[in-house]
Symmetry: C2
DNA sequence: ACAATTTTGTTATGATATAACAAGTAAAAC
DNA sequence: GTTTTACTTGTTATATCATAACAAAATTGT
């Protein structure tokens, strides 16, 4: 299985354009998940574990029904509640994020530290990169507070053209 | 018809908590819509105009099918494409915003100046307040550019507790 | 009037998500 | 180690959100 791909899930990290072995990411994510669940007395059951793995194996955010199909292939129950329950669990545990503007789900590489998911979504290749920006987070909290609003959750989804696709376009027109 | 409500659509404005006559907002929004459409050679047809009006008359973001039902009551065609076409038109003209995390649509009080819709969404009362924050916009553009990403659109939806609901809670517990 | 363009009507279907209740399974209490 | 309890999964049905495809009607430009 090759994983020399354009998958990106950096948090202001620098390896965002490197060809890395995605299997390592998956392994790390799964280990983190095991640890976190154990710590919090949560049960990472077979279907939940496999769902998380399948989400990670995808290089783009995965739709609920895409995930359901994959689970069904492997003998899991194929009714929608199966997948939505798994997703709810994983979301609650902070192991995945939902990309609202895509109705799709993405593994979080930093599940161990509580944070909001901020995303850069490419219109062309549909890759999604998670990024962290404490400045923006602080500014949003302050801004909301200024209006008497107590912030709980943030949906920050930016779409546009990623570096790779921009380069590709320039190359094509040149 | 009373409009002494908690409707809010400030853009960093100060009347966000005032009891204002919402009819004025609607009238202004409709006039702006007429003007903008005329300027751009767009046709604000009956169903589009009425859809916009109904969205404004609602004090919260309105779902597509809620809007469809209202339109149907008034004799408009009651099939989904009717409402989605109207919504597409209004979105394209910048007259409304879609709140992705709610799958609902909201009138924009500043359709005349191009901008991104940033929202504060109350978990309790489900009121939505649009706000403008040039600082954040600039920071996001810069941040994205720093990663080689060319920003096109932004989905910024913040949820939490609005000032009113927070006050209500304090009152209840006191 | 005619042709071209845009808008609307109509039917069907796709895509996303939840409600409700029964059955099974694992943890905790005894 | 059996009972009780809480949690998890199975199952059926339905709710909610959105688009495809093509026909008919209305508007616009000539
Ligand atoms: Zn994350
Ligand atoms: Zn791209
Ligand atoms: Zn706006
Ligand atoms: Zn509120």
């Amino acid at each position: 299985m090759k994983h020399e791909d354009s998958h990106q899930h950096s948090q202001q990290d620098s390896h965002q354009h490197s060809h890395h072995n995605h299997n390592d990411c998956i392994d790390t994510a799964l280990e983190t998940a095991e640890t976190l669940c154990a710590e919090q007395g949560q049960r990472l059951t077979k279907v939940r574990r496999r769902a998380l793995e399948l989400i990670w194996e995808s290089h783009r955010p995965l739709g609920a029904y895409q995930l359901l199909a994959k689970l069904a292939e492997e003998g899991f129950n194929s009714a929608p509640p199966t997948v939505y329950r798994a997703l709810d669990f994983l979301l609650g545990a902070g192991l995945i994020h939902k990309v609202e503007s895509m109705n799709a789900y993405l593994g979080c590489a930093h599940a161990d530290k509580a944070h909001k998911g901020y995303f850069l979504i490419c219109d062309e290749c549909h890759n999604v990169m998670e990024f962290d920006y404490q400045d923006i987070h602080a500014a949003l909290i302050e801004k909301a507070a200024h209006q008497g609003f107590e912030l709980r959750a943030e949906t920050i989804e930016l779409t546009g053209l990623c570096a790779k696709c921009k380069a590709k376009k320039v190359g094509a027109s040149a």
